[in-house]
């Protein structure tokens, strides 16, 4: 497991305005918490953090004021376009400690059902696991070439390294090969044309019929 190093510096907790000031200086505001100690606020190098996130690393080494410590990347907040990180949560961890993290599930191969007219739906793209900090798997890889039409892959079918326990139920669905709808493209497009022409009918107004009936009864 590779561990990225992020340069940072401790800072005073400044709230929203303080965080904005940090971002304007080209840094990334963050908070360190856990192990029952008081939370600390830090500013991290945006460049280093982006590299760590790009490599999907869960554990990082943070160098602040000449000291190097290991933390778990607990949460990252992004801007509205999900482009730039705006805040990072770091958790204090012990190297022997077990942690809960999300690990991506990689499906290899083309399922048999895809050749029979099915489409693969990847339901669970990341799986929650409980594992020691030093043994976080990069991904869970599974070959799905054997999956036929309407068959599904469950959490119980995945192979996990030793010491890594899934937090999902074994019967939870990871991926399924679903049959495509039996409509030809022309029919679909024909329907679309009908649907878009003139806007179609008015939607039903909730409670209107009851009101009209009561008015009619009152008038009579």
């Amino acid at each position: 497991m590779q561990i990225a190093t992020i340069r940072g510096e401790s800072r005073k907790a400044g709230g929203r305005k303080g965080n904005r000031r940090v971002r304007r200086a080209g840094l990334l505001p963050g908070v360190i918490y856990g192990h029952g100690e008081a939370p600390e606020t830090v500013s991290l190098s945006l460049h280093d953090t982006l590299i760590a996130l790009e490599h999907q690393q869960h554990v990082i080494n943070l160098v602040t004021d000449g000291k190097k410590s290991q933390y778990l990347l607990k949460d990252v907040q992004y801007d509205h376009l999900q482009k730039t990180p705006i805040h990072v949560d770091l958790m204090r961890v012990d190297p022997n400690e077990r942690v809960h993290v999300k690990v991506p599930v990689e499906l290899k191969g083309t399922p048999k059902g895809a050749h029979e007219g099915g489409v693969l739906v990847h339901v669970l793209t990341a799986i929650d696991v409980d594992c020691p900090l030093v043994q976080i798997p990069e991904s869970i890889i599974k070959n799905i070439a054997h999956l036929a039409l309407s068959e599904s892959l469950h959490v119980g079918d995945l192979e996990f390294p030793d010491n890594v326990k899934p937090l999902h139920k074994p019967e939870d669905i990871v991926a399924v090969v679903r049959a495509k709808r039996g409509v030809s493209l022309d029919e679909e497009e024909g329907e679309a044309a009908v649907a878009t022409e003139g806007g179609g009918d008015e939607p039903q107004v909730i409670g209107r019929r009851a009101k009209d009936e009561s008015e009619a009864a009152g008038g009579a």
Binding site: L73, H80, Q82, A195
Partner: protein, 140 residues
Amino acid sequence: MPANMPKRVKWRKCQKGRNRGNASRGNTVAFGDFGLQSTQLGRVNARHIEAGRVAATHFLQREGRVYIRLFPHKPISGKPLETRMGKGKGETAYWTALVKPGTVMYEIAGVDEEVAKEAMLRIAHKMPVKTRFVARRHSL
């Protein structure tokens, strides 16, 4: 038949309102592998949504799966041509969805990135807002 308006509504017409700010929800790729995200504020009406769907389905030839993350909930009323002002609010002319910068409007699953990019480009040409192609991000 694809839905292009609500089936049931509480009120037939609504006020114009204001569309402001950025998307704080619905701004991540949630169902598919790739998405088309709006970078502008705007209204995407039922015809745009349907045109985008048809463009993608036609290009993909029923490969993969297209998810539409928009629904036209808002009725927009209009007066007929050559009508004098007054006499109350016009009838509903069309239905629209309000989008904000960050809203993920379409998603595609089960195809390669190049194919998804081309399909999204075709949808983007039908959209009244500027868009960007996004991929699913690994969560921590």
